[in-house]
Structures are given as C-alpha cells and as structure tokens.
C-alpha cells in the first residue's frame, strides 16, 4: 500500500505545487508545512537569532508565494526555496552591516556565565557547545558559512548546494574544507576539555 501511495503522493506533490501556482492558498499552506522548519533552521544557523529567523522565514515564503509561477520543476522546490532564503539572508547581512546593528540576542550570547558550576548538567554543556558553535560560525565569511551550514548541519548534497549558490562543486569542497579547519581550530579548546575528539 505504501509504494502505491508513494506514487500517488509524488503526483499529488506535483499537483499541490501546480495548485499553489494557480493561487490555491491551502496548497501553499502544505508547501509551507513541509519546508518551513528546514528554512527556519537554515536562517537561524546563518544569523544566530530566533527573532530574525522568524521574520526572514516569513519573508522567504512571501517571496516564494509571489514568484511561485516562475518555478519550472516541482522537484527543485526545496533548492528554490533555499535560494530565496539565501538571498533574503544576504540582503539582511548588507542592511545590518550598513546600520552596524547588533541585536540583543547577540549581545546576550557573548555573556557567558562566570561560574560554570551553577549548571553542571549535560543541558548546560550542550548549551555551551551551541554557543561556541554559534560564535564560531559568525567568524566564517558568508560563503563558507553558507556551505558549512547546508552541508554539515542540513545534509544537502554538493549538487543541491551548487544549485542554490550557483558555485562549482570544486569551489564548494574547497570552501567547506577551509570552514571545517577554522571551526576545528576555534572549537578545539572546548573539544579537548570535554574529550569529545
């Protein structure tokens, strides 16, 4: 039953996109439901702020809604959405650079507690690791950060990342390799203490 359903589901996915392209909001809602978590996580990883991730996720889907007619292949929907998200994030980078903004979230994240013994459990350690990773990601330039997030955190293939960024796979591999080296260097003090590596 499942294989039969899978075939139907593939056709149904194509028809959902077709319906959304003709203005069916319910169909677009299904597209949103399927992809919004991925897009949100991607934007959060790029920018490190929940409020911004929420705002730009909505911007991404608004752009998608307005331009869905231009999507040629239903199979490319995910990478197409990622491309819109990437452009939205880059636009945010430019405007934040111009304004020299630093959000409250960012400021808070730099204030690590003095006494680490206050929260000795694993939850604290994971939170600490997440802060380290977030701060380490911020030191990467946009292109390396993008490929690192899409490959290491979101498990896209090089082909998919190439479709999103327009870069050759060889360049992506080089960028990822350099990003990993930098991340490793920045996280080494934490990793050695915790015997993770």
């Amino acid at each position: 039953m499942l294989y039969h359903a899978s075939g139907e589901i593939k056709n149904l996915t194509d028809s959902i996109v077709a319906k959304a392209q003709s203005g069916d909001q319910e169909a677009f809602g299904l597209i949103f439901e399927e992809h919004h978590r991925f897009i949100y996580k991607f934007i959060y990883a790029m920018l490190g702020e929940h409020s911004l991730a929420e705002e730009l996720t909505q911007e991404t889907f608004l752009g998608a809604y307005k331009n869905l007619y231009s999507l040629r292949e239903e199979a490319a929907l995910k990478t197409w959405l990622c491309t819109i998200a990437k452009n939205t994030v880059y636009k945010s980078f430019r405007s934040r650079q111009k304004e020299g903004k630093q959000s409250e979230d960012e400021v808070e994240s730099l204030n690590l507690p003095d006494d680490k013994n206050l929260l000795p459990d694993q939850q604290f350690l994971n939170k600490e690791l997440n802060q380290f990773i977030r701060e380490a990601l911020e030191t990467l330039d946009e292109d390396k950060r993008l490929v690192f997030i899409l490959k290491e955190l979101q498990y896209l293939s090089y082909k998919e990342i190439s479709d999103i960024t327009g870069e050759a796979i060889s360049k992506l591999k080089t960028d990822l390799h350099r990003a990993k080296i930098k991340m490793r260097t920045l996280l080494r003090p934490y990793l050695e203490v915790k015997n993770e590596l």
Partner: protein
C-alpha cells in the same frame, strides 16, 4: 599504504558523497589502516557534534498564522499602491470628490447617467419595426424555442406571430403601450436562463476525490513527521552509542540522552498510533522497532550501572538499528 590518496576521500565518505565502488574501496582501506580509521572516526564525531546544534531549534508554532497575516497585509499594500499609481483612479476620485461638495450637482449627474444608461439599453434592444411604428419598440428576447422573428409572449401565453401581417393590429398597437407584463416576463426568462447554474454533476465526484486527497495529504504529513522523528532518533542512538564515562567516574554520562529519549518517546507513541489508524504498515513497523530503545534509555536510573548501559549499547550495535534508520 597510500594514505594521502584516501585522506580526501575520507571527507567525502563522511559527507556521503562517494559512489558505491569508491566507497567500498575506502572502506577496505579503513579496515586495514588504523591511522585512517582513527581519522575517519574523528571526522564522524565532529559531524555528529555539529548535528546537535540545530537539533532543538524549532520555529514557533504560530508561524503560519503570522505568515498569513503578513501575506494579507502585503496584498492590501499592493492593491493600494496599484490604485495610487493608476491615474484614472486618481482623477475619478478627484471628480467624485468635487461632486460630493455639491449634492444637487451630484443628484443631477446621477439622473443624467441613469437616463443615458436606460436610453442605451432601449436602443440596444429596440426592434426596427417597432421604431417604425412610432411607439416604443417592444423588447425582443431571443429565447430558445421562440421563432426567429422574435415574437413576444403575452401574459396569456399566446404567441402573436403575425404582427407585421396585420397592419390594423399594428396600427392599434401603436396607440397601446406594449403589454407591460410581457417585457418583464421576457427579460426575466432570459435572465433566468442566463444565470441558472449548471447541474453540478461533477461536484460529487470532486468531493469524494477531495476526501481521498485529504487522506493522502495526511499520510504524507505523517510520513514527513516520521522521517524527522527517525532523524532525531538516529542522532540520539549515535550519541548514546558513543557515550563516554563521566570524568573521574565509573558511570556513563548519559543525562542528555535520557532527556532526549523521553521527548522522542512521547512523540513516537503519538506517531505510531496515527500510523496504525492510517494503516501505513511500514511506518508503523519502523516506529515500533525503535520504541523499545527509547523506552530503555528513558527508563535508565539517574545513576545507571555500567552493565545496564553496555547492554543497550550492544543491542544498538548488534541489531544495526542506526543503519536501518538511515535507510528510512
């Protein structure tokens, strides 16, 4: 051993980018070379560490509602912008604005427009013979089944086909106002025919198909959720399998894994019950397969013994559960 050749390939192996023949070759090398094997393990652990970063990052539940509000606001803005940029609207608004200042002028204008409209309507439907006769042309409506000469229906239902033949009658009709009830009746019939909805034979079919479609969509949503669940369970089991002894202790440091197992267990039960009700056997089977692991990890004591933890680790390894989760 030519480890240099394999160093680059180890990265691709961890990333899942190798084709089958190359992957087998690299696997063989790792088996034989302890240095490359340790390097490979380090790369895997590194990747695993990074994967935790977005593990608990979730969008807010009300995001769809917020998006809908934003979409609506954007659409309103687009309409307003279009109206502003189209000059005719502006001129119309200005003219109407002027008229509002002078009610008498507004009423007069409205009457003039109405008269022009009625006149246009009459002239459009006027019969030439009626005009020749000098009276108001009787309204002719081409209804199905009516002869092409456009004969009128009289209230009595009798057709009068020979107006043109009988000049006397035509002469009389000149002085008579056309039967007032015939025109509205004729017009009404035309309108009725025009607006009568088609018999909605296809609606029932569409309705049924829509129900089936909804069910398929629900199944799809369930499968998407299950795939996400499997992804999280895979990460949890990997983390549990790689758990180390806490510093200066003879106990495993698994508090995080326990906590995650509890969260995932509640979700697993919910998804399993849904898949049972939909009859999606494969999904139900996978969820049933992983549930015992979640139960066992969640139910470990706060200070579990080495034996308890090692037993679960061994089961995870022997039953190859992680590999089967990857293939889901």
């Amino acid at each position: 051993m030519n480890c240099e050749k394999y160093l680059h390939l180890l990265d691709d192996l961890v990333e899942g980018e190798l084709d089958e023949p190359t992957r087998e070759q690299v696997d063989l090398h790792i088996f034989a070379c302890s240095e490359c094997a340790s390097h490979f393990e380090r790369l895997k652990k590194e990747k695993q560490l990074y994967s935790r970063y977005l593990f608990e990052i979730e969008p807010p539940k009300a995001l769809w509602v917020k998006f809908q509000n934003k979409l609506e606001a954007d659409q309103q803005q687009t309409i307003l912008a279009a109206q502003k940029s189209f000059p005719v609207f502006e001129w119309t608004a200005k003219i109407l604005g002027f008229l509002r200042l002078d009610p008498a002028l507004t009423i007069a204008g409205a009457l003039v427009l109405f008269a022009v409209g009625v006149g246009f309507f009459f002239s459009f439907f006027a019969d030439e013979r009626g005009v020749e006769n000098g009276g108001l042309a009787p309204i002719q409506v081409m209804l199905p089944g009516i002869p092409e000469n456009g004969a009128l229906f009289t209230p009595s239902g009798n057709q009068n086909n020979d107006l043109a033949k009988d000049k006397g009658k035509a002469e009389n009709s000149k002085n008579k106002a056309p039967n007032p009830s015939s025109k509205p009746f004729a017009i009404k019939q035309k309108e009725t025919i025009k607006t009568q909805p088609k018999k909605d034979i296809s609606a029932e079919f569409t309705y049924l198909a829509k129900e089936e479609q909804m069910q398929i969509l629900e199944i799809k949503a369930l499968e998407t959720e299950t795939a996400q669940q499997m992804e999280k369970i895979e990460l949890l089991l990997r983390s549990f399998r790689n758990a180390r002894l806490a510093e200066g202790s003879e106990q495993f440091d698994i508090a995080y894994e326990k906590q995650q197992a509890r969260k995932l267990l509640a979700k697993n039960i919910e998804l399993r019950q849904k898949s049972e009700s939909y009859g999606t056997l494969f999904t139900e089977e996978m969820l049933s397969r992983v549930e015992p692991y979640l139960l066992d990890i969640a139910n470990l004591d706060s200070n579990p013994s080495l034996a308890q933890v090692l037993e679960i680790k061994e089961r995870v390894k022997n039953q190859n559960i992680i590999a089967s989760l990857q293939s889901f």
